[in-house]
Structure formats: C-alpha cells, structure tokens
Amino acid sequence: MRLRLEQSGGFAAIPGLSKPVELDTAGLSRDESATIEGLVHRTGILEGGVRSVSGPARGADLREYTLTVEDGGAVTTVHLRDPITDDAVAALVEQLQSHRHRPT
C-alpha cells in the first residue's frame, strides 16, 4: 500500500515544515505497516467512506490536506480540512505526519 499526504494552509504554513509525506508500507517494519494499514481500513477510505471537502473554508487558517491511498492498483484521493472530526481519519493523518522528514 502506498500513501501520500500533502498539506497546505494554516497560520504557520512554512513549506519546509510541511513537505508532502510519501510512504510505501512494503518498506516499513511489520508493526508500522500494520498500524498504517489498520488505520486506512478503519477510515473506510478505500470503500469510499471518506468524503472530500469542497469550496472555500468557512473559517480561516485551517489546514487542508490531500490524501492519496494506492492499494492493489486502485487509487483513492480525498481532500480534507481541519478540524477533522472523524477520529480514524485524524489518526491516519497524524500517523502520516509523524513520518515527515523534518529539516535538521
């Protein structure tokens, strides 16, 4: 399973700190892979269970995300915006962010 998370917006939107995250679970440890794939299945994103936001934000300084999941040849992309109220989706985004390479 391959995943990509792009992030934009927010009060402190510094490109160097919000680079896209790309992961291939085949390259992760068994535990990390199981964690991420488990979160993906919890969200239901592969079954169309995550709806994209559309139109401009009602608020301001809200982060937006583009999340792409590729699994078995099928590619699913959704657009998200904070505050993410679905716990499983929020957990997946947080998990992917933890894999972002930060500048040193």
Partner: protein, 216 residues
C-alpha cells in the same frame, strides 16, 4: 452653532440645555415651541439611557455603557474534539495552565480594542461569546478560526512554542470572526489575502494597544 432637525420637527443637538430652557421660558412663538419639544426629547433619551444601562448594545453610542465580556476557554486535551472541556469561564480566576490564561487575557485585549476604539461588542457586534480551545491535537503548529470558535495548538516544541503565547496571534484569529460577520471575504485567492491582511493588521493593533505602544 448648528442644530439638527428631527423627523418630529424639534431642534436638538449641540444647543446647550440652559439655552433651550431660556428659550422655552422667554422665547416667543415657534422658538418657544421648538425649545420645549427639544427639551422633552432630551428627557426621553435620558430616561431610555437609564433604562438600558448595563445591557449589551448592538450599535455604538458615546453614551453606551460597557457591555459584559463573555469568554469561554476550553481544553481539548490534545484530541480532535472541539471545543473540549470548559476550564475557565468569564470572571473565573486564573488557572494553573498558562495557555488557558493567555487565551483568556488575549481575548480580553482583543475585545477591548474592538469595543473601546470601534464600539464593537464582540466579533459579531452582538455580544457573542469568545470561545477558544487550547491543546488542540498533538504538537499542532497552528492556530485557527473554524467559523465559530478559535483553537490553538501546542506547537511542536522544536520550531514553534504554543500558539497562545503571542497576543497578536489571538487578535489575528478573532479578527477572522469579525471579517466573517462583516464582509465575509471568501477565504481563497485575492479576497482570502485581504482577509488575512486584515487579521494581521488588527492582530498587531491588539498587541500594540495592549502594550500601550503608539505609532510614533
């Protein structure tokens, strides 16, 4: 001297009451009648002001009393649910959590700027509560206005400290509430840039006024 005619035809404005009383007493014809109507109008206004004293007002008046602030600070406990648990309501004493007190005080500074300088009662000029949640998500590098309330992240601790530390950030976010209830500048493209710019300017004004700084 200028006077202003009301729809009822009486004369009032900057004519001092002692002149109106003298006209009512010693004037003749139209001048006396007009002075009497102006005095009666002033008495009615004074009675209305006494009756409404202490209430929030929707529009600014030099004679309006200061309406009460209404601040509600919540703790999201590093989760995704908003607003979280109420930890400090209006008038409650400071708590041990600095982030809570910073938002409470920052809301106060912002509210005072809008009231004392612009006669605006809260972000919507209708006295609505200022609601803020601290400790939103884990190590979040952000502060935002979600359309009804503000939330503040703790920062990652490496590049950003908690977003409640800077009062201009709080003023910035609250000003998004002002903008949303006035022009509702669409948050994208040029209108979004104007929306952001207004928040930047007023965020700085909140900080400078709170610190007693002037433009000189």
């Amino acid at each position: 001297m200028t006077v202003r005619g009301t729809p009822t035809g009486c004369v009032l404005g900057i004519v001092p009451p002692h002149l109106l009383e003298a006209l009512a007493r010693n004037g003749t014809g139209d001048a006396r009648d007009s002075a009497e109507r102006a005095l009666e109008h002033s008495r009615r206004l004074a009675a209305q002001r006494r009756a409404t004293r202490g209430r929030p007002r929707g529009t600014y008046s030099m004679m309006a009393t200061t309406p009460p602030q209404d601040r509600e600070i919540y703790d999201a406990h590093n989760g995704n649910d908003l607003p979280g648990d109420l930890v400090r309501a209006e008038g409650a004493p400071a708590v041990a959590d600095a982030a809570v007190n910073e938002v409470y005080d920052g809301f106060g500074w912002t509210w005072l700027l809008y009231w004392e300088v612009f006669g605006r009662n809260s972000f919507d000029n209708d006295g609505s509560a200022l609601i803020g949640s601290v400790h939103y998500q884990r190590k979040l590098d952000n502060a935002a206005w979600d359309g009804t309330q503000m939330y503040f992240g703790d920062g990652d601790g490496e590049y950003f400290k908690r977003f409640t530390l800077a009062v201009d950030v709080i003023g910035h976010e609250l000003t998004h509430g002002v903008t949303s209830t006035e022009s509702n500048l669409t948050y994208q493209g040029q209108s979004g840039a104007l929306n952001e710019s207004l928040s930047d300017v007023f965020g700085s004004l909140v900080k400078q006024r709170g610190l007693g700084q002037d433009a000189a």
